[in-house]
């Protein structure tokens, strides 16, 4: 500890530090309180009511009624399963693909600036056209994939990607990976800058190969960033439904019905705000439980 801190009595030092911490957090606190915390509390509370859309509707507190109803809602749980498959696959594929790309973009290659810029294309394209472009890619008659297969004479491999019961979910997963890769790549690339170069040089001098260096130096240094971005990615992927809605609207036969799509329809199409909020609460609890295992370390750090 520094000399400065040693001069202060422990309690005073603590108070001063706490005060300083609050001071630093304050600018973020106000907007967050009004535009995030209040709506969140409101949203969570709705999950325990019978709130419905309608003019001059009165809302009643119904306790756990919504939840007992959800327990027997097979469709909701079926969509939950699809949601988990979707979120886990997209997150995992996205992470490995983005890690590879970030490592490449971190090398001193020619036209690196251009490559880095192009890598962010999925992020830069307006979402309104992304779904439409991918529909054109997967179109059974005139789609890019089937057309490419046709031109190289592999027409028989072509299929109705978004319409076939077995290929619909994998097809939307690929779009999900595509759409989310830029932010994962950017974060990992930024994280790679925190890996001190001396360590690499020292290891190289010791004769460690590229892979060994990556495994024993880069990866451990990168771990906090990896944990942070994969858990956020998982949450985001679980919560995203806009793209899938445009591509398949949950079909064919409910094969791509994501839970958030389910909750969205419950709220906005049928006006059942209470039930939709209850679904939100259930999803939050289950996802937190899943993440808790993954984030144990992070949580310990936060409270350490």
């Amino acid at each position: 500890m520094t000399a400065l801190n040693d001069e202060l009595p422990l309690a005073r030092r603590r108070r001063a530090r706490t005060g300083y911490a609050y001071f630093l957090v304050l600018p973020a606190l106000l907007p967050v309180l009004f535009l995030s915390v209040v709506p969140l509390v409101n949203g969570i509370y709705l999950g325990f009511t019978d709130a419905r859309a309608g003019l001059n509707q009165t809302t009643h507190f119904t306790g756990l009624d919504n939840y007992t109803g959800l327990l027997s809602n097979e469709q909701f749980w079926a969509s939950f399963k699809i949601g988990l498959i979707w979120a886990v696959s997209v997150t995992v594929i996205q992470f490995f693909a983005a890690l590879g790309l970030a490592l490449l973009l971190n090398l001193n290659l020619r036209l690196r600036w251009l490559a880095r810029t192009l890598a962010l294309v999925p992020w830069a394209m307006p979402p309104v056209i992304v779904g439409i472009m991918w529909q054109l890619v997967y179109h059974p008659d005139a789609g890019l994939i089937n057309e490419a297969l046709y031109r190289v004479g592999l027409e028989s491999l072509g299929t109705n990607w978004l319409g076939d019961f077995s290929t619909a979910l994998p097809a939307v997963i690929i779009v999900g990976v595509w759409a989310g890769m830029p932010q994962t790549t950017v974060v990992l690339l930024a994280g790679l800058q925190g890996v001190p170069g001396e360590l690499h040089e020292a290891a190289a001098v010791d004769g460690a190969g590229a892979f060994r260096r990556f495994w024993s130096i880069t990866l451990p240094q990168l771990r906090p960033v990896i944990v942070a971005i994969t858990s956020l990615d998982f949450i985001w992927n679980f919560n995203s439904f806009g793209l899938v809605y445009v591509l398949t609207a949950g079909g064919p036969g409910g094969r791509t019905m994501l839970p958030m799509l389910f909750a969205y329809e419950e709220a906005f199409k049928y006006g059942h705000f209470g039930i939709a909020a209850a679904m939100g609460n259930v999803m939050v609890i289950i996802i937190v439980a899943l993440l808790a295992v993954y984030l144990r370390r992070r949580m310990r750090e936060a409270s350490a």
Binding site: G54, P140, G251, P252, F268
Partner: protein
């Protein structure tokens, strides 16, 4: 690092200006004095119909200095979310363009005003009772003025019909379903399928067409609705299914397409006939390759040519403080000349008889306008349109069930069982 400093300063300055700019922009919105301002949410999106909308609004604003209309262009995709949020947030537009079925849901929730006593007599008389029924709630309230109708017709590749020696049916002697199916079979050869059924969203399409065979799908049992799936209801889904899997005269891949997705195949000669909405004529006109000849066939006939009428509507928000003025604007917006223009811009059928006549005159019945205008007579209120929980049944039960049936994953019996049993849960 030094090199970057000026840029950083510039960025900070820019940020500061923008922050001030945004704060200033949020300025005053006083509406205490001056003319009445009405917000009009329009969902027109085709080039011509947007232009027609804007023209009518401008003409109104020029003529009425005391009531000014603010034109807001929305989009069909997001209209429901946008409207629900603004109703709940008490910030709704005064005049709302939407469609009868979904507007009915908003009416039930109390968001749309009963305009029965505000509608001028000539507008009321010009629109058929069969159409007014679609915007009348169970207790007799009228929650909108219907103005554009959509019917399902068939568009065909004229050259392929001629080659196969199939004569084009006329409006007074339309094809029956049997004749259509036979023609599709004849037209199927080589790479060409007789037809394509784009039923990505199968429910409305099937339920609409089922009225051809008097298939109702919903029946009142006391004061409760229940789903029925008898012989009449089975006709249309079974025929579509059999065309794909038994006759092989309809393309299986097209089943998961949306309305206009089969167009490349249709123009490329892969599909000879394309059943679809009459607005498809617009795509024909705009996108058909040079030399491609298309023809609009009249709606198919089962026991009748009846289809469900789900017109586009103009409603007034309950929260609006100027309902009478809003209705006056609607009446002006929908005068026969305007209505004909709007219908033409969207390639749909006007609900008003006078507008229909005007449209026939101005187009000479070309580009399928004869078929389109004639189809208006057989559009009626379908039972499913009066069922409050229909959207929920459609999305949770019927859509996946029909998709599985059309993908040949379940039998007709299983389809019926799911529709009926699923209905029991939701209609309770």
């Amino acid at each position: 690092m030094k090199r970057l400093a000026p840029r950083r300063v510039a960025a900070a300055a820019l940020a500061a200006t923008l922050a001030v700019g945004t704060l200033a922009a949020c300025g005053s919105g006083d509406d205490s004095a001056g003319p009445i301002k009405l917000k009009f949410l329009s969902l027109a999106w085709q080039e011509e119909s947007v232009a027609a909308n804007k023209k009518i609004v401008e003409a109104w604003n020029a003529a009425h200095s005391d009531v000014q209309i603010e034109y807001i262009q929305g989009s069909w995709d997001s209209a429901h979310d946008q409207l629900l949020t603004s109703f709940e947030g008490e910030d709704a537009p005064d005049i709302i363009h939407y469609e009868a079925a979904l507007a009915g849901q908003f009416a039930q929730q109390g968001y749309l005003a009963d305009v029965k006593d505000l509608i001028p007599a000539d507008l009321k008389g010009d629109i058929g009772d069969n159409v007014w029924q679609t915007v009348t709630s169970g207790d007799g309230k009228v929650y909108g003025v219907p103005f554009l109708l959509e019917s399902q017709a068939v568009i065909a590749n004229k050259k392929l019909l001629d080659e196969a020696g199939i004569p084009v049916p006329t409006a007074d002697k339309p094809w029956t379903w049997d004749e259509f199916q036979a023609a599709a079979k004849t037209l199927t050869k080589g790479e060409t399928f007789g037809t394509a059924w784009p039923v990505k969203q199968p429910v409305n399409r099937v339920l609409n067409l089922s009225l051809n065979f008097d298939g109702k799908y919903f029946q009142k049992n006391g004061d409760k609705n229940q789903v029925v799936f008898g012989a009449a209801e089975q006709e249309v889904p079974k025929r579509i299914h059999d065309m794909v899997y038994t006759d092989k005269s309809a393309a299986p891949d097209a089943l998961t397409m949306g309305g206009t997705d089969p167009l490349p195949g249709f123009f490329g000669g892969k599909y000879a006939m394309l059943p679809g909405s009459i607005y498809l004529r617009q795509q024909m006109k705009e996108q058909a390759p040079a030399g491609f000849e298309w023809v609009t066939l009249p709606p198919l006939k089962g026991l009748s040519q009846n289809q469900a009428a789900n017109p586009q509507t103009l409603s007034v928000a309950t929260q609006s403080e100027h309902k009478e003025e809003a209705m006056k604007f609607i009446a002006e917006f929908l005068n026969p000349a305007n209505m004909a223009e709007l219908a033409k811009g969207d390639w749909l059928v006007p609900t008003g008889k006078k507008a229909g006549e005007e449209l026939l005159k101005s187009t000479g019945g070309k580009d399928g306008w004869d078929v389109a205008v004639a189809s208006a007579g057989s559009l009626v209120l379908a039972p499913f349109q009066t069922v409050t929980q229909f959207p929920e049944w459609k999305s949770k039960i019927a859509t996946p069930a029909f998709q599985e049936y059309f993908a040949n994953k379940i039998s007709l019996d299983e389809l019926g069982k799911r529709l009926v049993e699923g209905g029991k849960d939701i209609l309770k």
